[in-house]
Amino acid sequence: MATIVVNGQEIQIPDGARMNLIEAARLAGVEIPHYCYHPGLSVVASCRMCLVEVGQRDADGNVRMLPKLVPACATPAQDGTVVVTNSEKVRSAEALVEELLLLDHPVDCPICDQAGECYLQDYYYKYGRRERRAPAEPFTSRRKDVGQFVTLFIDRCVMCSRCVRFTREVSGTGELAVVKRGNRAIIDVFPGQELNNPLSGNTVDICPVGALCSKPFLYKQRVWFLRTHRSICTLCATGCAVLVDQNMNRVYRLRPRFNPNANDWWMCDYGRFGFDFVYDPRRLLRPGTRGDDSEPSATDWEVVLESLATRVRRAAQEGKPVGVLLSPFLSCEDAYLACTWFREVAPAARFYLGPVPVEGEDERFPKRPLGAIGGGTESRPRFVISGEKCPNARGVRLVIEHFQERAQEVADFVADLDRDGAGFVYIAGGYPQPWGDELAGVLEKADYVVVHDLFPGPLTEKADLVLPMAVWFERAGSYVNRNGVLQCTERAVVPRGEARSVGRVMWSLLGRSGLYRAEDVLQELALAVPAFAPAGAISDYPEHGIPLQSVHVAAGEEPAEV
């Protein structure tokens, strides 16, 4: 244990914790303002916002302060380090840095997307001078589109170089650079290049001011109208922890949330900007039966569920096979309740894992090893975009394996159906696009087909009953990512139309009372399925997820995380 003193308050930091003074002061509840320091990037100590007074306390308790202010981001916290952040000297340095940064700033906060979550604004109110001495001449900032998703407001930049370091150290693509010098320095892309790497959206998050903005989100909302919910991204098996920002029941933005077990501070552009399919006008919004174009009314859910249950029971009584195909887009709770109910009404029901979409190889970052651009060499990737484009293949497989020997695959589903036919088939999809060509043909052999999905497609055409499904941020649930970490999500918005999650549907079919709560189902799941035991008896789900020991990380798959 090392003891450091922050503004006279002693705090203990664990041995071996390599921490700078910004992190250490945060432990003591003291904020040291900073722009250029980011825990995921190298330290350059260039913005000078974090200047503090530092000293050393010797064994006798005598403190010797350094004569000059030092940058907290580049000063390690050691035993006996004394930090002062609230002295006159520090306060005036902070105010001067703020004043300097704002000298050439367009002060166009009213039209800046960052306003409300901008460190320049926040720090100016907290640490800046009350009154401005330089003339304030608000004008529109020069602007340059630097990439497909990112636009740069040149004059709003505070030259912290976070974005430049990100493209060099994390994405390894190095498109950005500081050009020109002194007060004319600006950020730019190299000639002929564009900031189009699959991680480009992260530069928008790490930019502490409104210089880099996201084009798809530009001017859509003011950030103070947004309500934030904890969730994950479900478009690949990395399962990045995200925050879902919603206003009036519409999701406008996903942002990564720090999780060392999944994504660190980052997320990819496919996930970040890829939730448009949720608002696709083609989405299924109401339950419907085959050849039925009329708009069923709200009570129809009760009616269709009743007929669904009758059909399953009839098939079970007649001794006909019942097939249940669960896609890897379902949450663990969805899969668990579905298996529970089908086991109950049709003890011989067979469970299959839906197709696990794989698109090419995993994409590893940095693209070029760090050594090639400067700095050290790292062998482990800083970020991995999985080739496996679904969130929960491992979780659904674990649940199915609890109910039957082996989680059978789509090929088994097709073969079984072809051979034995079926009295009843339930297919739960959730894929972001129409799917299922390989299954559609064989569905003829089933007496009654229920498809619970997002989009009309080859399967819904063959279905006797189509149910609209809720997407991940329209339901709560938990997912097991490629590292075997179980992450729980909150519901951010109510489902579009009359869509319902599999979990909620199964909850009503099971005849349980009260509201469907994913937390309770997860507790039940943890008790029932040993693989999920670590998730049991936890009342407040850890932000970084729960590692499930028994998930075998497939050979050759490295943890996505450093």
Partner: protein
């Protein structure tokens, strides 16, 4: 407010003496007022036959207008500050990138529900570019609720209607200003 707040001054009701308790003086006073009004000029205005003109139109809080800039374009920069300040939540804006090279953001759609508005003037107060103002125009009528949701065109037309009669109430920064010349030089 706490009872022991030093800023609160507690007053006792004055005790009435016998003469005052007869209530006769108060009644006579009252009759005096009535009598005076019976003989002086009538105060009641026969609205709407006699329309009312606010004494100082610049202080009256009536229907909103959206001001135009020097080039006749909507001055609003779609910052949503009025919508944020509005206690009645009656302003609805959809922002977009401006179609003009010298401006960045503008309201693609701007609507105020004049029925829901409480005419408090907070929007005018909040606007950083003096784009929204209340006018002295007050006698609004409409046959449907939808008609009373004023869109951008209508609010701009209120400006056209009132601009000669009522000058801008305030004058401050203009975010729509072109970047200073030196900035442009530097670009070259």
């Amino acid at each position: 407010m706490k009872p022991d707040d030093p800023d609160v001054i507690w007053l006792e009701e004055p005790k009435l003496n016998l003469f005052e308790r007869l209530y006769l003086p108060a009644i006579i006073d009252g009759l005096g007022v009535t009598g005076r009004h019976a003989v002086t000029k009538k105060m009641t205005r026969q609205y709407p036959d006699e329309p009312y003109q606010p004494a100082d139109p610049l202080k009256y809080r009536g229907v909103h207008r959206l001001n135009r800039d020097e080039q006749g374009r909507v001055k609003c920069v779609a910052c949503f500050l009025c919508a944020t300040a509005c206690p009645a939540h009656c302003i609805d804006i959809v922002a977009a990138e401006a179609p003009w090279p010298d401006r960045e953001k503008y309201p693609e759609h701007f609507a105020i529900d004049e029925l829901r508005c409480i005419y408090c003037g907070m929007c005018e107060e909040a606007c950083p570019v003096d784009a929204i103002e209340l006018t002295s125009f007050y006698d609004l009528t409409g046959l449907t609720r939808e008609e009373m949701v004023f869109d951008k065109e209508k609010l701009l037309s209120v400006f056209d209607m009132t601009k000669d009669r009522e000058p801008l109430r305030t004058a401050g920064f203009r975010l729509s200003q072109v970047p200073p010349e030196e900035k442009e030089e530097e670009e070259k």
